[in-house]
């Protein structure tokens, strides 16, 4: 009993200072990178820190693209026991920033010149109110198409660069008896495709107006209806069993030559490499037709929770290690994404990776880099999920395109 009372007192004191639960010289890291390659890559970071005498308390919570981890994070923060660093995406970072729960990394950022090397569109999610609050690890771009080269060659199809070429290619594959598009019918996968389709249908300005500014006119426009019509086209060229399928099983269809294309983020590359395929020879990677200039992205970052008003030395070391060029390359080589800083050399990456880096740099400088709606980098979670609802309902035939547009306007207005 006495012991309990003491623990209580201690914890109340800890709450008052809002100090995390990990030991003084430890960092506790909440993340959802538990699959083989990702975890191994993260282990690089762990060893780096341990080399500096900083212990690493691992707190992995996988599931649902970080949804589980975010739930757990809320429980931890509510309990007054926030982890030191937390993997997070897009608006979640800004929301935590708005809660005032995150540490200000500006000193470190200035010292290491983050402002100059991290693309502006990405900075929008790493800074809140002018303060750096998280350390970006990578940039995933989501508007990739993955194709089986043998299948394309067999049907005499070149890499399509416009929507028209794409529809022709798809129909050619369908005529040849191959499933044209491999797709997994989960809300986030539907939305990933929708991102790219909307971008190709209406161009970057439309994309920004609709998904970032949430402009009602754009959301309710004929262009949006066109986007939904294109989704319907895609829906009619996926196989019957698409519903509920995991994305990597869809990727396996492309790998096995059962399907021609898959629209998926750059993490799909890992599946190809894992199956022993070589980029450019066995499989092709290219931007979704009609979005060749643009890059929609999502970026993994590590938010640093406030440790009593200042950045602890462990956090600084962790953040510094995350943004170090060597880690950026080592990690992204495994992850399939590209480094969050544009100043590192990409020689070690494969062909697709190098193209990704080049695209990113180009898009960043030409103002064509946009946060992905599907991955929570365009609008807050409530809006994102509201859009998911409509896109998925439409994709599964619940709405026709016209209804979908009306529902979209309505859903976004409720969620805003």
């Amino acid at each position: 009993m006495k012991h309990l009372m003491m623990t209580m007192k201690a914890s109340v004191a800890a709450l008052a200072l809002s100090v995390g639960g990990a030991n003084a010289a430890d960092v506790e890291v909440l993340h959802w990178w538990t699959s083989g390659g990702e975890a191994a890559a993260l282990n690089v970071l762990k060893q780096d820190l341990e080399g500096q005498g900083i212990g690493w308390q691992d707190m992995p919570v996988a599931g649902g693209g970080g949804e589980q981890a975010m739930t757990v994070l809320r429980a931890r923060v509510t309990a007054g026991d926030a982890p030191t660093a937390v993997q997070a995406l897009g608006f979640d970072i800004l929301d935590w920033g708005a809660e005032g729960a995150l540490a200000n990394l500006n000193d470190l950022a200035a010292q290491e010149g983050w402002d100059d090397v991290v693309p502006e569109a990405l900075q929008a999610f790493a800074k809140y109110d002018g303060k750096w609050i998280s350390a970006p690890v990578n940039v995933h771009s989501t508007n990739w198409v993955w194709a089986n080269k043998a299948v394309l060659d067999a049907n005499g199809i070149a890499v399509p660069t416009t929507w028209e070429e794409f529809t022709a290619a798809v129909e050619a594959l369908a005529a040849a008896g191959v499933t044209p598009i491999a797709h997994g019918g989960q809300a986030w996968q539907d939305a990933t495709v929708f991102d790219a389709v909307a971008m190709s249908a209406g161009g970057p300005d439309f994309y920004k107006a609709a998904f970032i500014d949430l402009d009602e006119d754009a959301l309710g426009s004929d262009t949006m209806k066109e986007a939904f019509d294109r989704m319907a086209f895609i829906r009619s060229h996926v196989d019957e069993n698409f519903s509920g399928r995991d994305w990597n099983l869809a990727t396996a269809m492309v790998i096995n030559g059962e399907a021609g294309f898959q629209m998926m983020g750059d993490w799909a590359k890992g599946e190809f490499l894992n199956a022993g395929k070589v980029p450019g020879e066995d499989f092709l990677c290219f931007r979704f037709p009609g979005t060749t200039e643009q890059v929609t992205f999502n970026a993994d970052q590590f938010m640093m929770f406030d440790q009593g008003g200042s950045v602890s030395s462990e956090q600084a070391a962790l953040a510094s290690a995350i943004l170090s060029p060597s880690f950026q390359i080592a990690f992204n080589k495994v992850k399939g994404s590209v480094p969050a800083r544009t100043d590192v050399a990409g020689d070690e990456l494969d062909a697709c990776g190098q193209q990704g880096m080049a695209d990113l740099a180009a898009a960043a400088s030409s103002g064509n880099l946009f946060g992905s709606m599907a991955h929570g980098h365009a609008a807050p979670a409530s809006v994102k999920n509201a859009i998911y609802d409509v896109v998925t309902a439409h994709f599964n035939g619940e709405f026709d395109s016209e209804t979908a547009v009306a529902e979209l306007v309505d859903a976004v207005s409720i969620a805003k």
């Binding site: 623990t7 209580m8 959802w32 538990t34 699959s35 083989g36 691992d58 509510t78 309990a79 399939g336």
Partner: protein, 293 residues
């Protein structure tokens, strides 16, 4: 089971019996199916799975996925397998099951043998508590655990499972003790036994069957819980289900289904064992009270 029904009065004809056996076997197949899928795929190389034919027997049999799931698979940044988390779960489950069963037994004892005004209402309130969806308690629970200084500790988890299990254990024991002769308690009182002596010497020795029901129920629920385990355990103190989830779920990584299934069966082994070992007492326990009301 050779109780009570050794003298069933019902006789069935030959055709009816054949039909009954057929139905029973069909259902046995139905219940076995998912386990079959899991077992079969846990002994195949990954290439056979992604190559299709998930219902087929393996071409190459391998125990590699099992070894990997147990001791090598990546759970967090380190390739520890499920092994270390097994012990975490045990540390959490054993006290939580033991305490909730004992408290449930004591509550059932009080509510049936030491009745007082308003006890029925209190019991109703405890029973209704069983129905609370766990998702809604997550945030306030986190706060309370934080204030108690139990956040991120095994004892915090034990407390959580205790709170949400006690309604059920109380229900089981109450129904069981309701048909336990009150005269025995009165006789013991006259003999000079006190509250705890009566419980310990008279009721508890006769509570075997219902204790089995309570333990099975609690063990299964607590062992399989994910939400609380993920939210209230610190990283390396996480229970088995959280580790399993980390093994199985990965949004953007390669999915090794054979390892996942091996891990799933490993994680389920203790509960399966409990059902197989204690299963025969289970029906007896249910019979002894909980369904008689």
């Amino acid at each position: 089971m050779a109780v009570a029904s050794s003298d069933t009065a019902i006789r069935t004809g030959r055709i009816a019996r054949t039909f009954i056996y057929l139905v029973l076997l069909l259902f046995a197949l139905f219940y076995m199916l998912p386990l079959y899928v899991m077992l079969i795929n846990s002994v195949k190389p990954l290439s056979e799975i992604t190559g299709g034919g998930m219902m087929n027997l393996p071409d190459i049999w391998t125990l590699e996925p099992w070894r990997k799931a147990w001791s090598e698979a990546q759970i967090g940044v380190q390739p520890t397998g499920l092994k270390p988390y097994f012990w975490n779960s045990i540390q959490m489950v054993v006290p939580a099951v033991a305490i909730s069963t004992i408290l449930g037994a004591l509550n059932g004892y009080v509510l049936t043998k030491w009745r007082f005004k308003g006890d029925t209402i209190l019991f109703g309130l405890m029973l209704f508590a069983c129905f609370i969806p766990f998702q809604i308690v997550l945030i306030p629970m986190a706060r309370v655990l934080g204030v108690l200084g139990l956040a991120g500790s095994t004892w915090g988890l034990v407390l959580v499972h205790l709170v949400y299990g006690i309604g059920f254990t109380t229900l089981y024991f109450r129904n069981y003790y309701a048909v336990f002769p009150t005269e025995l308690v009165r006789a013991a009182q006259i003999d000079g036994a006190g509250f705890f002596q009566i419980f310990w010497r008279i009721l508890l020795p006769s509570s075997g069957p219902i204790a089995v029901v309570s333990v099975i129920w609690q063990f299964t629920n607590i062992w399989n819980d994910f939400l609380f385990g993920a939210s209230f355990a610190a990283g390396d103190g996480a229970p088995m289900t959280v580790a399993l989830n980390n093994l199985v779920q990965s949004s953007t990584g390669v999915k090794e289904y054979n390892v996942h299934f091996a891990g799933a069966i490993l994680a389920a082994t203790p509960t399966l064992l409990v059902y197989i070992v204690a299963g025969r007492y289970f029906v007896r326990g249910l019979m002894a009270g909980s369904v008689k009301g």
